[in-house]
């Protein structure tokens, strides 16, 4: 009986994993880059310096076209900024508010309670300004793509000249990691595009790695709390299991040895 139970448990794990794996059979034909992420793995935590650098890239590059609807400036305290620093980061951005008493919309500096700036007033303007393609919201982008962090990183660093014979449509760029290989987003990163406050050299790889770390945090700001809680739960349950196993043995001891 013991072995059949073991087989059962093994089946349960492999079965679930196989179903999940098969259901997610990778779409892209190109092997993704695997640069490694500090926040991956059961004990991984976010690299705070990378998050702050990633914010610089996001504010200066991505946020020109992409929104981050579900993240508010107040959330940036989790990146290691003080309340006043967060106020300063928000205040650099002008957002529309209103209507005021006169019924007019007006511009004001953003507050920590505001979500990240919406670069376009509506989806239609966003499309017109981007050759018909709508830049998607990036709040949960890392969760929403097969390959997750590795995919976004590969995409950002994967722009290249099209192979011979491949015609790239007007306004599109060639990127082997993108489904269909022709992407509406022009190469967003270039050497030295941003200046990092901490003096790190802004290579394309560095910026891509930083901004993907930032987006991973944006997609799941509770990642660290989740793993830490999970660890406590597992330790607690392991101890409880041992106690319950011992209690169960003790209770059954009488009945198992008793003659009927």
């Amino acid at each position: 009986m013991k072995t059949s139970l073991k087989i059962g448990i093994a089946l349960a794990f492999t079965g679930l994993a196989a179903f999940a794996g098969a259901a997610h059979a990778a779409e892209s034909e190109v092997e993704l880059k695997h640069p490694g992420w500090q926040h991956k793995g059961p004990f991984g935590t976010f690299d705070r310096a990378a998050l702050q650098r990633g914010l610089t890239v996001f504010e200066n590059v991505c946020n020109n076209c992409h929104s981050l609807e579900y993240v508010h400036y107040r959330n940036l305290e989790a990146l290691g900024f003080t309340e006043d620093e967060v106020k300063g980061i928000a205040a650099k951005v002008q957002v529309e508010d209103g209507p005021n008493e006169d019924g007019d919309m007006f511009m004001r500096p953003a507050k920590p309670s505001d979500p990240f700036k919406f670069p376009f007033a509506n989806d239609e303007i966003a499309r017109v300004s981007n050759g018909g393609a709508l830049p998607p919201d990036l709040s949960v982008m890392v969760e929403a793509r097969e390959g997750h962090e590795d995919y976004i990183y590969s995409l950002l660093t994967g722009y290249e000249d099209p192979p011979a014979g491949v015609e790239v449509a007007a306004g599109k760029s060639y990127n082997p990691y993108f489904s269909g290989h022709q992407i509406g987003m022009p190469p967003p990163l270039s050497e030295g595009l941003v200046e990092y406050p901490d003096g790190t050299e802004a290579t394309v790889d560095q910026m891509a790695h930083d901004v993907v770390t930032f987006l991973a945090w944006a997609a799941e700001p509770n990642l660290e709390e989740r793993k830490a809680t999970g660890f406590k739960v597992l330790v607690f349950m392991a101890i409880l299991s041992v106690l319950l196993i011992l209690a169960n043995r003790k209770i059954w001891k009488k009945i198992k040895t008793q003659n009927a």
Partner: protein, 484 residues
């Protein structure tokens, strides 16, 4: 309801209540005194685990419903707000989303345990049937729950599954419009799915009550499949099985926690983090893993037959695959319950399990995924070449050729205007190959699934020679102790 210990409360208030409404003695009889065969193994813990999961899903679901907004414009955002702004909202949602998978996993094991030990057989037919009703209700509840986040898979899964009803002759399209509350999956669909997703678990709870009620009338089956002959064969539920189930619960929570805390999205689909967009169809629309075997059966029906379109056959087969389980008590004519004493049935049981897992695997694949490539089909290549031939003379020439000689065919093709690159393209293209595709495997496995229940099970009841049964549970338990 037989009980091994009497309910004799010392507390006056308890006596007062119980003499007016015997709810406490009912609970005592159900959870404390209920006599249970003493030889349960760990597979019998999964019933309690299923009950636990129902409670977990209802408890987390009620709190989630306090923060969720069933509106197509707001649903996705309200889920993100739960994940980010609600205290421990992420934990509630991850428990609930993974909890659905855990609930199904536990219930599948519980069902297969029933199939192995013959728990569906007389006199427990009602227990089995009510259990299957619970399972069908769970499928409906899980499906509607997956729609609520209003991601891409929510929307397209809902579209595909509700569209199945359009296969019903004459009234199919009207039924689909009625289900949708409109002419496509839209806000009315989301709102009614939310209402029903909230309602059904309580109906499930009622059926769980009946499941346990029916079980306790006849008493539990056990791994030996023989009835207890007296008190020496049973133990009271408490403390023996409360203690044993507590161990099962603790180990199960560890398994569950690994998913909740360390791989919370492993069983979901990334596309469901993309807000629903009726104008963009995902490359592959895949249901949750627990529906995959039935999804494979649905898609295995690819031919119109007897004037019934393939789509309707698919729907019939899919629902038939569940319905056939309801007939198990009557399909199985064997006098012996437990597969332990049924050497042939036992082997077919494990084969069935493999087949169901295989169907699940096929369900996750795209039907035209090539599993085995047997190489070029020269007949299909010849058809391509033939479509380029313009004169009768060339046609006759080509007909006289050996089409298996690809070099000669290629040379000929060059003469009728097929470039060598074009020709090589055909040769390399798997659509011009002899292949064994996922849909072919699904068809074989789906056929076997029905063959198992409709042919093998009834036949084995007559043909199989079961092993001798032990005379009593306690005798078997003590004999095992001696040899151990």
């Amino acid at each position: 309801m037989a009980s091994t210990t009497k309910f004799e409360p010392k507390n006056g208030l308890v006596r007062w209540v119980d003499s007016r409404l015997p709810i406490l003695s009912l609970m005592h009889g159900t959870l404390v005194a209920y006599p249970v065969p003493r030889n349960f193994n760990w597979w019998y813990t999964f019933g309690s685990l299923a009950g636990l999961m129902l409670v977990v899903q209802i408890a987390t679901g009620i709190v989630l419903a306090m923060h969720y907004t069933p509106n197509t414009e707001l649903a996705f955002a309200s889920i993100e707000s739960i994940m980010r702004d609600v205290n421990y909202g992420w934990l509630l949602r991850y428990i609930h989303a993974n909890g659905a998978s855990m609930f199904f996993m536990v219930v599948y094991i519980h069902i297969f345990r029933g199939l192995y030990y013959g728990s569906y057989k007389e006199p427990r037919e009602m227990v089995w049937i009510i259990g299957l009703i619970i399972y069908v209700l769970m499928m409906a509840t899980g499906f509607m729950g997956y729609v609520l986040p209003w991601g891409q898979m929510s929307f397209w899964g809902a579209t595909v599954i509700t569209n199945l009803f359009s296969a019903i002759p004459l009234v199919g399209d009207s039924i689909v419009t009625w289900l949708w509350g409109g002419f496509s999956v839209d806000n009315p669909t989301l709102q009614r799915f939310f209402a029903l997703h909230y309602l059904l678990p309580f109906i499930i709870a009622a059926f769980v009550g009946m499941h346990i009620w029916a079980l306790h009338i006849q008493g539990s089956n056990n791994p030996l499949g023989i009835e207890p002959k007296g008190p020496q064969d049973t133990v009271p539920f408490h403390p023996y099985y409360t203690a044993k189930d507590a161990v099962g619960v603790a180990i199960f929570i560890i398994f569950f926690s690994v998913f909740i805390f360390f791989m919370p999205n492993a069983l979901g689909h990334p596309d469901n983090y993309i807000p629903a967009d009726p104008l963009v169809t995902p490359a592959h629309i895949v249901p949750e893993w627990y529906y995959l075997p039935f999804y494979a059966i649905l898609r295995a029906m690819t031919a119109d037959f007897l004037g019934v379109p393939a789509k309707l056959w698919g729907v019939i087969a899919m629902f038939g695959a569940i319905f056939v389980l309801f007939l198990m008590p009557w399909l199985d004519r064997s006098k012996v319950r437990s597969a332990r004493f049924r050497p042939v049935y036992k082997q077919f049981f494990w084969l069935l399990l493999v087949v169901v897992l295989g169907l699940g695997w096929c369900g996750a694949k795209s039907p035209d995924d090539v599993l085995v490539d047997f190489g070029v089909d020269s007949g299909l290549i010849a058809e391509q070449v033939e479509s380029h031939i313009e004169t009768r003379v060339q046609r006759e020439q080509f007909a006289a050729m050996d089409h298996d000689d690809l070099d000669a065919v290629k040379t000929f093709a060059g003469r009728v205007g097929v470039t060598p690159e074009q020709f090589d393209g055909w040769v390399e293209n798997p659509s011009y190959h002899h292949t064994f595709q996922a849909v072919d495997l699904s068809q074989i496995l789906a056929f076997y699934y029905f063959f198992h229940f409709l042919v093998l099970v009834p036949l084995l009841g007559f043909l199989e020679k079961p092993l001798p049964l032990p005379t009593s549970i306690s005798e078997a338990v003590l004999a095992k102790k001696k040899t151990a």
